[in-house]
């Protein structure tokens, strides 16, 4: 692979493969016998429970069996027994670092089935973009902070979480919850943005840029960090395609695919932003792509805040939108409507749809089968990090045990999403 510079604007770097180091040191190649090594399911370096059964020869991994499923919470079975609206809380807990993005993805899928996708109020679409991008930033911050901590850079972790805390508090003002938002609704969003949201967000973004600069200073010229990231855990573009890897991990391999650009949804086509693409596909590329994506997300946020229109945030269809509480309590008509929507559920016409959005880890797909009742017949999530985790079994062999930690960290496997 080449060592040319890539789009995140950092200076060219020395790409070294771990085992070349070993030979550079002229260490005599002692005969070793394969030893099985078990990492997880509860391991300090495994944020998210996964079990890796490695076979190591000396320090080198010869084969890896990644075992997931320790956080299988039966999203699908629960969904089949819940009304369409009741599913939102479950989507929150798929990729629980960026719940808003999951809400948006699910809501859009159901709206497509209902055939009201075109009639979602514009303000609601803008709000979805905004909260989604805020979630994306917090998602990447968490990923960077956690992985850096696992490489010993505890300061970065604290900086990143400090920044994420600002975003959480902002989102709390929006939807009342720090983490599990359940903010979107079928047909729009639950309620409008709070007073002074824009100014607060602008202020926070300024501070986050500062934090990112600090993190960059701490990491990008940090010998230890670079040596453990550069050229480690390389995923080729071919693998990315065969495994269906998208999002930051996919883009780090040079696969320039971003749903927001290639199939613009909501109002993304109105914003001007770039898609960072890596060249090597190693851990550092993933790191760099994530950093750059935060910058781009903030670009989108600036534009969205500038151009967000006024207006309603929910469709006017009485069979989808809940009536106002005062109406509900004081008129039998609204009471019945409320009752039907809550108890019976919104009636989605029979059909099947695959709707996809760009979530924190890549293409988040919802494949939904409706049989015309108030509850889905099947509600399948296409989890982006599932594919990325699957490729680990191919990437890890040949690396050192120590390389598992940054590689896994940069894949950013999220249990709730991967195991569902």
């Amino acid at each position: 692979m080449s060592a040319d510079s890539h789009s995140s604007g950092l200076e060219p770097r020395r790409v070294v493969l771990g085992f070349q180091d070993a030979e550079d040191l002229g260490a005599p190649d002692l005969p070793t016998e394969p030893v099985p090594l078990n990492m997880g399911p509860s391991h300090p370096a495994m944020h998210g429970t996964v079990r890796m059964v490695l076979e190591v020869e000396g320090e080198r991994i010869s084969s890896a069996d990644i075992q997931i499923g320790y956080l299988h919470r039966c999203f699908e079975k629960e969904s089949e027994n819940a009304t369409w609206t009741q599913i939102f809380p479950y989507t929150d807990r798929l990729n629980y670092i960026s719940p808003m993005l999951n809400n948006v993805g699910y809501a859009m899928a159901v709206e497509q089935l209902l055939g009201i996708a075109k009639s979602i109020p514009e303000r609601a679409q803008f709000i979805r973009v905004i909260v989604g991008e805020v979630s994306r930033v917090s998602d990447h911050l968490t990923c960077l902070g956690a992985s850096a901590m696992e490489l010993g850079a505890f300061t970065v972790f604290l900086y990143a979480l400090k920044a994420r805390e600002w975003l959480f508090e902002l989102l709390e003002e929006v939807c009342g919850a720090r983490l599990t938002s359940t903010y979107c609704r079928i047909g729009g969003v639950a309620y409008d943005l709070p007073e002074g949201f824009g100014t607060k967000l602008r202020d926070i973004m300024g501070r986050i840029r500062g934090v990112l600069a600090d993190i960059g200073k701490l990491l990008e010229r940090n010998r230890i960090f670079r040596d453990r990231m550069d050229g480690i855990g390389i995923i080729t573009k071919a693998d990315a395609l065969a495994y269906g890897i998208t999002g930051p991990v996919g883009r780090s391999t040079g696969l320039a695919y971003d749903v927001r650009k290639d199939h613009p949804y909501l109002v993304y086509d109105r914003f001007d932003f770039d898609v960072p693409v890596g060249s090597v596909g190693d851990n550092f590329d993933r790191y760099a792509v994530r950093v750059e994506e935060m910058v781009q997300s903030m670009r989108i946020l600036e534009q969205a805040l500038d151009t967000i229109p006024a207006g309603p945030v929910m469709v006017a269809d009485p069979r989808v939108a809940l009536p106002a509480k005062t109406e509900t309590y004081n008129s039998i008509e609204a009471m019945i409507a409320h009752f039907k929507i809550i108890m019976d559920g919104i009636h989605v016409p029979p059909g099947e749809v695959y709707s996809f959005t760009e979530a924190g880890n890549g293409e988040l797909g919802f494949y939904i089968v409706s049989d015309g009742t108030g509850r889905p017949w099947k509600c399948r999530v296409r989890p982006p990090c599932f594919s990325a985790t699957a490729v680990l079994g191919k990437v890890l062999p040949g690396l050192f045990i120590a390389d598992v930690v940054p590689t896994f960290g940069m894949i950013n496997m999220i249990g709730g999403e991967c195991d569902r």
Partner: protein, 545 residues
């Protein structure tokens, strides 16, 4: 119900005689041409071809007074919309069910209906299966235009032993009145007052106490008439429903067992034109209760609870002893309460394997009957038991004589209900004389108490099987709730017992027993096991009425 189609009824009998092909007329509904037999009601014709027309007062099993005006449709050539529930189809009729005018008048009627309707959904038993809710949401869904004071009426009127009336909720469709008049043949309900003061009330000097009164609750499109039995027990939309057959008498009314979390909350009639049409009797509705009380939940050996292996061993030992010494002194008691599968398995064991000479038939005593639905024979499966017994079954009177004479010293009872009959003409059974009594029973009663080994039997709400009603129709019973305690279906217990007695009778599922019986027994030839069914949560899935 969402995915489980209409329950298939099979069997022979007068029902199958096909009527002569009727004269057909051509009707255009919403631009499409259809053929209907002459005299079909327009409403039924429309709904049959998917042009849904809402209604309150119309009921397929009753006459139509056309009072609710909810089913108005436009007919070409008519000056104003006509009530489709009251209009027979005529040749070359052109009907517009969705014309703006028709929709508009229906909406206005609905609005009038809602003007005085109380805001009760959260506390209303009908909520979740309410026609008013359904029609409002499907056809109108507009918000209220008036905020006047609603007319106040009596909310809790005790109209009968089983029923409470809420006059505010009543939408004056008169269905309940017609049920009393046309099904129960007694005029016990009436309308009083005029205009928006009009109320439903009992006829002077009457109570709503006919044996079919609870059908009024079923047909009530709203929550005006509610059953004391079900009132405030469970929310309708939380219930799961399973088609089954009422075990109350030999009529075999088709019912839906409505349950939640392993408990049955009510039985409601299921439409079957060949048996019970839309109705069932009040007595039958309460048969689910006996299935949930006083149950035998664990095997007993010598009166003490033991596990299945132990109990079966003891039973096997006790019986084998007698079988070895005096095989001709072993008797079996069939029960007309059992399913065909249990009876068939017992017949296999008794006649083919043990070659038992003495077989008896037990069951509930005769009771009251009328010429509407209720039969005197209070057993759901007498016909099946008799056919399977094939003339070898003798009465309990014979059994008591044999016991007294010492001709029977070992007895296998499958289904203990009604064995110790009450009423005249039933001799007390000197069970204490038996050397081995194996009682397979659902309840803790005299027989299971006297038994050396008592094995818990699953009730009809807990098993898959078939009943044969007095018309000879084999009807399917489906497991709605898990079996109580350790109890098992009869056929399963019997095949375990057979193994202990050295007989080879391997049944693994009720369907297999059914299939074999179907081969062997002529009266089951046409029987059909039907599709497997998922438990369907109501959630408006089958809005009744």
């Amino acid at each position: 119900m969402a995915d489980s189609g209409p329950f298939k009824t099979v069997g022979s009998g007068p029902i199958k005689a096909a009527p002569p092909p009727p004269e057909m007329v051509t009707v255009v509904i919403d631009g499409k041409t259809h053929q209907f037999p002459k005299g079909t009601v327009l409403l039924e014709a429309c709904n049959a071809v998917g042009a849904d027309v809402p209604f309150f007062c119309y009921h397929a099993g009753l006459s139509s007074p056309a009072v609710c005006r909810q089913c108005l449709v436009d007919v070409k050539g008519q000056p104003k919309p006509v009530p489709s529930c009251y209009t027979p189809v005529a040749d070359k009729m052109e009907v517009m069910t969705k014309s703006p005018r028709a929709l508009d008048v229906r909406r206005q009627m609905l609005e009038f209906t809602l003007v005085n309707h109380p805001i009760d959904c959260p506390i209303c038993d009908k909520a979740g299966e309410c026609l008013l809710q359904k029609h409002y949401f499907d056809w109108d869904a507009k918000f209220a235009r008036n905020d006047g004071i609603k007319v106040k009426k009596h909310k809790v009127v005790d109209v009968g032993p089983h029923i409470v009336l809420d006059q505010e909720r009543c939408i004056l469709c008169t269905r309940c009145i017609r049920v009393c008049d046309e099904v129960a043949k007694t005029h016990q309900l009436e309308m009083a007052q005029r205009g928006d003061r009009e109320v439903l009330t009992t006829a002077p000097g009457h109570k709503l106490d006919n044996p079919y009164s609870l059908n009024t609750v079923d047909v009530c499109p709203v929550g005006a008439l509610t059953a004391k039995d079900f009132r405030f027990q469970m929310r309708a939309w939380e219930l799961y429903t399973m088609p089954s057959v009422c075990p109350g008498c030999a009529t075999g009314c088709n019912v839906e067992v409505q349950h939640s979390r392993g408990q049955v909350y009510r039985l409601v009639p299921r439409i079957n034109p060949a048996v019970n049409k839309h109705w069932m009797c009040d007595e039958g509705r309460f048969t689910y209760k006996r299935a949930q009380t006083e149950r035998l939940v664990a095997p007993l050996s010598g009166g003490t609870p033991v596990d299945w292996d132990r109990a079966l061993d003891d039973a096997g030992r006790a019986l084998s002893a007698v079988l070895a010494a005096t095989p001709n002194q072993v008797g079996v008691v069939f029960n007309a309460q059992s399913t065909n599968e249990d009876l068939y398995a017992l017949a296999r064991l008794a006649f083919d394997h043990l070659h038992v000479g003495k077989a008896y038939i037990a069951g509930m005593d005769q009771g009251w009957h009328d010429d509407i639905l209720v039969s005197a024979d209070k057993n759901p499966n007498t016909a099946g038991a008799m056919a399977i017994g094939a003339g070898r079954l003798r009465t309990l009177l014979d059994l008591s004589n044999d016991l007294k004479a010492g001709a029977v010293t070992a007895l296998i009872v499958v289904g203990t209900r009604g064995v110790l009959g009450t009423g005249p003409g039933v001799a007390a059974l000197p069970l204490e004389r038996l050397r081995a009594l194996v009682a397979i029973g659902t309840h803790r009663d005299g027989v299971t108490a006297a038994a050396h080994v008592a094995l818990p039997l699953a009730e009809w709400t807990e098993v898959d099987g078939t009943f044969t009603n007095k018309l000879g129709m084999v009807q399917r019973v489906r497991a709605a709730v898990p079996t109580a305690g350790d109890s098992l279906p009869g056929w399963e217990i019997l095949s375990h017992l057979a193994r202990k007695l050295g007989a080879t009778m391997e049944f693994t599922e009720a369907k297999a027993v059914f299939a074999e019986a179907k081969q062997k027994l002529p009266f089951m030839r046409e029987a059909d096991w039907g599709r497997p069914m998922l438990p369907v949560q109501l959630r408006f899935a089958n809005t009744r009425g």
